[in-house]
Amino acid sequence: MALPQAKQDALSARIAGLSLQRDGWLGAARGEALARLTAMGLPVRRDEYWRYTDPASLTAVEAPKAAVFDSSDESPVFDGIDRLKIVFVDGVFDAAASDDLSLAGVEIERLAKAGGADIHWARDVYGVLEARGQKPVERPLAALNSAFATDGVLIRVTGRAARPVSLVYVHNSDSSDAILHHCVKLEAGAEITVLENGPAAARFSKVMEVEVAEGARFHHIRAQGRDHERRAVTHIFARLGAGALFKSFTLTANGVLTRNEAVIELAGDEAVAHVAGAAVGDGSFHHDDTVFVTHAAERCESRQVFKKVLKNGAVGVFQGKILVKPGAQKTDGYQISQSLLLDEDSQFLAKPELEIYADDVKCSHGSTSGAIDETALFYLRSRGVPMRVAQSLLVLAFLAEAIAEIEDEAIAEDIRSRLEGWLARHEH
């Protein structure tokens, strides 16, 4: 089907200023991504998948300006965690601020450097998982990212990573427009934790493709920056082999627009994928979690746990789907999306979906939105706990199920104490 002229024009305008690198294996992958993008066009509000989130500012030619937020009142996220740091400032690699890229059990390269070779392991991952994730729902912004990403990291994990790899995204310029693309490949039995934190840019597009081979374990914890005006569209595409584990948790506070997509394929028997998010939004905050989990093998388990706390007109969106393919027997799928609305101006839009083509499966989903429990609030206050502290306790309790998805206790505590601090100071 030919693309409508308006979509065609919008796409041409958007990519006019971007340069397509044609060299090496990466050039070929970029060319294919551009072909996918050209066939799809950019998303518009009328598209079913963008009904609750207006993509206009994500597809605009120029990134809307976003002031840099001063977060010097607290130590950076994951500061206390022993990790290998890779720093990008407004999407540009910062060698001076980054650690040496050598780590036992892991090979790390920068995309901008490794892309020119003729052969590379990442050829089987880059744009490949993204392309698989374009069906049955189109994700043009991910294809745009694959075609035009300026940098990123390629991480191949052959053993047990000695330390977490930490991607730090610094936002310095109020008009920066960053596109990063990472690939992570875990060989059989390997294990790594990837951390991400920071606002990255005024507008940030990021794709992470993760191939988790048999029995390998991938842990991902991310804290998106507190800049109020920043915009981000992110995609995680993951494919899991037999007995593999994938766990991803995202904390989002502030940001005028965030769309986080997770597209996960359980391709091997007994694979386990958990994806969770905790978001706290105030005022002009729009946060969209869009998740698509495909069960394509037997005895796999998936969990989606998304919690949002919204106030002063903040908007939360959840689109979550579990697709159980024919033959994916003994599937155990769980999905919960809940929001706590601290006032009547805020709203939560949820579209939970189950599509099941196997007969011996266990799938459940639930979605709720509600106010803070007044009875619990009174109970706490009657014991002398001041109103604001009582509210924070209940908000943290509400988010607890999502935070519980973080396996590493030190990292979970970092996230928890941060939230506690923000809630206590009444700001994010």
Binding site: D373, R381, S382, R383, V385, L393, L394, E401
Partner: protein
């Protein structure tokens, strides 16, 4: 200690008068009981004193050691020494019992300008007090009242009371849902806290709780008023004859 004068209370949402002029005075170290038929306003009295939403005070006052309670926020009332043991203790998923207790103890200390309790000291004290109430470590770790049996919830209320050391304790039908052994345990917990500086208001339907927690004064409440006041023998009288005679007497 607690002085309630001519207290009139109606429901905020509807035009329904619940308390129609309650007068009650409890001295330091005294234990008073309020008995009365269903709907007489006993629980409303406890909620109004502790500051729950949904009630409107149309007249009267309630002071604790001279301070007007009715103008304070619930947490201020707690900090000034008022404690309500709930008839239906509230379940709070996601908030650990220990975190809850410690937050409450330290919030009250802070409000009174006292130093906060260290984690170590707190743990020592709470373990010791929990042991007396047969509350095990597991119960302390679990979320507040979640999955607790009726008896465990009531014991947890008494533990909170023991930790917060209030001067005025209101027990709202603490005996409801308790078997004989649990009632003994809870009563022992309450009795252990009795001293010269601490007063109790025990709200109950049944005389049997008063066998364990011996009151100094017994009040009968009906139709939003206290209609009779006497000694412990008044509770026995009600137990034998019911409320009908007393109500008829007043009318």
């Amino acid at each position: 200690m607690l002085r309630i004068e001519n207290l009139h209370v109606k429901l905020e949402e509807e035009d329904k008068q619940i308390l129609k002029g309650v007068d009650l005075s409890i001295g330091a170290g005294e234990v008073h009981a309020i008995m009365g038929p269903n709907g007489s306003g006993k629980s409303t009295l406890s909620y109004v004193l502790s500051g729950r939403d949904g009630y409107e005070v149309t007249a009267g006052s309630a002071t604790l050691d001279g301070e007007e309670l009715l103008e304070m926020e619930p947490e201020e009332r707690a900090a000034s020494g008022l404690f309500l043991a709930f008839q239906y203790p509230v379940e709070i998923p996601g908030v650990g019992n220990m975190t809850f207790l410690r937050t409450a103890v330290n919030a009250q200390r802070k409000a009174r300008g006292e130093e906060e309790m260290s984690a170590g000291d707190f743990l020592k004290v709470v373990r010791e007090k929990a042991k007396k109430l047969k509350i095990d470590a597991e119960m302390l770790k679990r979320p507040v009242n979640v999955g607790f049996s009726g008896g465990e919830k009531k014991r947890n209320e008494i533990l909170q009371m023991a930790m917060l050391e209030p001067k005025m304790c209101i027990l709202d039908e603490t005996d409801s849902g308790l078997d004989v052994d649990a009632m003994k345990l809870v009563s022992d917990g309450v009795n252990a806290l009795r001293d010269e500086g601490r007063s109790f208001l025990v709200i109950t339907h049944y005389q049997r709780l008063l066998d364990h927690i011996r009151p100094d004064v017994v009040h009968i409440m009906a139709n939003g008023r206290i209609i009779k006041t006497g000694g412990p023998e008044l509770a026995l009288e009600v137990e034998h004859n019911g409320y009908a005679d007393l109500l008829a007497e007043v009318q």
